[in-house]
Subunit: 572 residues, 2 copies
């Protein structure tokens, strides 16, 4: 039986470790810079692949990621498995009921947001194929169809994440964008699957074109109707009679593997099958949040980074970088999507400003376009130059989406409690024994952290404190002040083992003292922070845990795991 | 760049789907029969591999699991990755502080539980090597060392699961067994790593024997001291500054991959590295429960089943089944472990009955022995006949562990709330409008489900109910009776949308009525069930959810996801 030699096992594990570690590290850095994680993950592949490591240290690159032999095959197999699972998760995020609820506007935005870029991309590729990098031997119709579709699919995970970052996800505007993107995703993928079927038959696949297309549409129709219903009916039995959550977990993955195998066999790519299985599974209200989280987190933080990093291993992004082509693709992509989605939103009756925000929201391509491009590259429909241009287009449109929406809607950067803490304004053990001293100590720390004038701040806080003591009970005190000219909220944290009397209604001394400084211009911020803190410390366990932390990192880690987790999908 | 052809991708996905689906299905069935899941998982491999499918339908077997080419290589790579991750989880279960707390007794049981079987196995293999299946060309010393070690390693996951099933996990006896097994695991694996190092050098590995052993012991020492400390120090920073739980998740897996690559490079197997990384990561009190759950569940229900099923693909269990060899191995394995662990427990001052229970508890081999055997098979130290015997020994010792302890300790089968429900005794909508009618309706259903005499039961329940109404408030009522001759607790469930007055202290009508019937001989059972139910329905959300269920399966699924999850590790 063929198997990996010990040396090959070492290389496989090392290569996976390097890929995963680098991708996640750069993904985290990208997110700290408010960029989509997929940017960092692809960059990791570019660093480790032929573009950088292969140029600077060819032996290292050849050792870790050999182009031939067992290791190349194994890595390809694992990357394929990774993208299949990633599409399962992407499918699980598709919430069909959201689309129905938003109804007409979403359908209009979604339809126009597909048709316009598709038409524009198709026409451009048809009229000026050379400028878009078509090779002489490529089928012109297939090429034009591919480019049109590639430009028309939005990236739901990126869009959802951007909206969450801007606190727009649950707003009316946000739900229109999300539901339009879901509709866009679903239709776009089905169209793309049909094109892949055409490619497959064009490149000599065994099944005839009509049969292939019939199978694709049939499979999609069955999964979205009978499949969905069947999954929904089976889940309670699995949860009741098999291990929980293990039963549902294995069921979802087994189904995804079968769906993927089926669509790969039909002649379109495996990911289409797992995507549709994901839609069917994710749509069931019987799927518990815990099961969803386990699949989502494991796939998003392990498989997806490995897959996206592996893309950079396949192509040299330096030698195939073609500035005019990149700009052309970017211009056509933005023009088509912005025009389509914005017009769709106007058509649906939205005001101009909101319609533009919808346009920029839908313009984000992210992960999906890249996967599409890779399939086309592997099928020989496009070459590396165009692939590189598509990847860059996908990343740039994703990066501009958030800032553009913020400018158009004139949004304030939403505050986050976690961002208001700072290591400089964290006092593990207050020296203070009185309220006056505690205010003094915390003010000094806060002013050092925020470059503020100590006297002004202290007098503002103390005046407020004297007027009405801020002990709220359960060992917590929330002294505060609103300061003119402060740009962002700042919360200084002081812990006192002995406790300090803040005149709380329950008479208990305060062990956790949070000094809340907020901008004068934002009267709501202070109340929001106070509400969030008192909610966090409603359970007395929380204060007990805070008293056990040793330093700021441990404090921040504790706060982070106590506040609702950020959405997963680091691809976003 | 070498990659998988579309046909190979189809086969890979189909094969993984079939492996995972079959393994989990049979694993669940095994657990329903109170057997370790790993039994079912290995059986799945035997069914799909050369033993059954390869004999009955050779083309199917050859299509799904070809012996040569890209698919064989890819499956081997994925199975290797799976066992590396499984050992990460096994390592994370090792709680060093438990061993310290139990101190002397655990060390005595652990030490004797290794030394005696090791000595017995070594001597047997040294004196009657042919009877134990040694090949003429195998090195006699290595063979004897291997067999000794293989017989001396217990299977922590199996043991933990057995103890939980018997409600012994948190008892004194249970903790002695668990901590002895942890100690046993740790030492056993280090000894085995050294032997693997010897094998590697014997089979021509590049590094010299002393260097290999030095590296192994050095790596183990570093991981258990500095490595543990470092992980513990880094985790809060990761949780504070990276995505949570994504940061910690990727960190643990990246580290496991590096550790695995390192030990594979040293010349021992990759799993040793990920096991030690698991110990270091799992030991940190900063690792949050959620992160642990995600890794544990995904690995236990996806990777582990694929790995254990893949074992059955490698060997024909029918042609290599050698009854005398199986019985000999089983006898030596049981004799050594039982004698060692029982004597160790006596030496530690435990009474004879408890000492025997410890012996049978430690006797379970399960997953670990099988992995060891596979490594030895791949290294050429043993042949398929002995491998098959070791697998059977591991499964049989695991299967006898629970029943033996139950008999020795004269334990009642512990009740489980979930088992007391039954579809026959579930009334989705009570016709009753009064207390009297509700008791009548529920009694009838319970008697039908449990073959009881309706008149007797109803009069017992109603007498109790009349003496003191059983509405406990928040819309819940718990009528009950203790019945002579009843073997197991039985809970009939009635839901009433309209509500029935059970004279609750808060005056609310009961919408969820649970009729609790318990054996007269077990006076505690009724109080336990009542306490568990009132705890479950303490949060009013729970009753609202129950009112939304449509059938028994949905009800059971809901109860299951609300009660604390069963431990993962389906290998157990």
């Amino acid at each position: 039986m063929d198997s990996l030699a010990p040396h090959e096992i070492t290389v496989m594990l090392l290569a996976l470790g390097v890929l995963l570690g680098t991708a996640r590290l750069l993904g985290e850095l990208a997110q700290r810079l408010h960029q989509p994680a997929v940017l960092g993950e692809i960059l990791a592949g570019i660093l480790l692949g032929p573009t950088v490591l292969g140029t600077l240290a060819p032996p290292c690159n050849a050792l870790l990621f050999p182009k031939h032999g067992a290791n190349a095959i194994t890595l390809d197999g694992i990357a394929t498995l990774a993208v299949v699972l990633f599409l399962l998760v992407a499918g699980m995020e598709v919430d069909l009921s959201t689309v129905w609820r938003r109804g007409k506007v979403a359908l209009k935005v979604g339809t126009a947001g597909i048709l316009v870029p598709l038409a524009l991309g198709f026409l451009a590729a048809w009229i000026v194929p050379q400028a878009l990098g078509r090779q002489a031997e490529a089928d012109p119709l297939l090429f034009a169809l591919f480019l049109g579709t590639a430009l028309s699919i939005s990236a739901l995970p990126v869009i959802a994440k951007t909206l969450m970052d801007l606190d727009l996800y649950r707003s009316d505007l946000g739900m229109v964008i999300v539901s339009a993107a879901i509709f866009n995703d679903l239709i776009g993928w089905i169209v793309f699957a049909v094109i892949l079927g055409l490619m497959g038959t064009a490149t000599g696949h065994a099944i005839s074109i009509p049969l292939t297309i019939g199978l694709i549409l049939g499979f999609a129709a069955v999964m979205l109707t009978a499949g969905r219903w069947l999954v929904h009916a089976v889940l309670p039995y699995l949860q009741a009679y098999a291990h929980w959550p293990g039963g549902v977990l294995s069921f979802a993955l087994t189904l995804a593997l079968f769906g993927a195998a089926l669509t790969e066999w039909i002649g379109i790519h495996a990911i289409f099958g797992s995507f549709l299985v994901g839609v069917a599974v994710g749509d069931s209200s019987h799927l518990r949040e815990q099961t969803r989280t386990i699949i989502n987190d494991f796939v998003s933080f392990i498989f997806a980074p490995v897959f996206f990093a592996s893309i950079g291993l396949k192509v040299n992004f330096a030698t195939h970088f073609d500035a005019p082509l990149v700009l052309t693709v970017l211009a056509i992509a933005c023009a088509g999507k912005l025009a389509g989605a914005t017009l769709g939103a106007r058509w649906g009756g939205m005001p101009a400003r909101d319609a533009w925000a919808v346009g920029f929201g839908m313009n984000a391509r992210g992960a999906m376009e890249i996967i599409l491009g890779l399939l086309a590259l592997e099928a020989g429909v496009i070459r590396q130059r165009l692939f590189v241009a598509l990847v860059i287009m996908a990343l740039v449109t994703s990066m501009m989406s958030g800032p553009a929406m913020q400018i158009i809607l004139q949004l304030r950067k939403p505050w986050r409690l976690l961002k208001a803490f700072s290591s400089k304004a964290f006092l593990r053990e207050l020296a203070a024994v009185s309220r006056r001293e505690a205010v003094h100590e915390l003010t000094a720390a806060a002013c050092a952290a925020g470059n503020l004038d100590e006297n002004d701040v202290e007098s503002a806080v103390w005046t407020r404190e004297e007027a009405m003591p801020t002990g709220i009970g359960k060992g917590i005190a929330l002294p505060h002040a609103r300061l003119p000219g402060l740009r962002e909220p700042l919360v200084a944290v002081g812990i006192s083992e002995a406790g300090i009397d803040f005149d709380a209604p329950d008479g208990e001394p305060a062990h956790g003292i949070f000094l809340i400084l907020t901008p004068q211009e934002d009267p709501g911020a202070q109340l929001k922070i106070a509400a969030e803190l008192s909610h966090l410390f409603h359970d007395r366990q929380m204060l007990a845990k805070v008293l056990r932390v040793k330093n700021f990192a441990e404090f921040l880690a504790l706060m982070k795991s106590a506040t609702p987790p950020q959405p997963a999908s680091p691809a976003a």
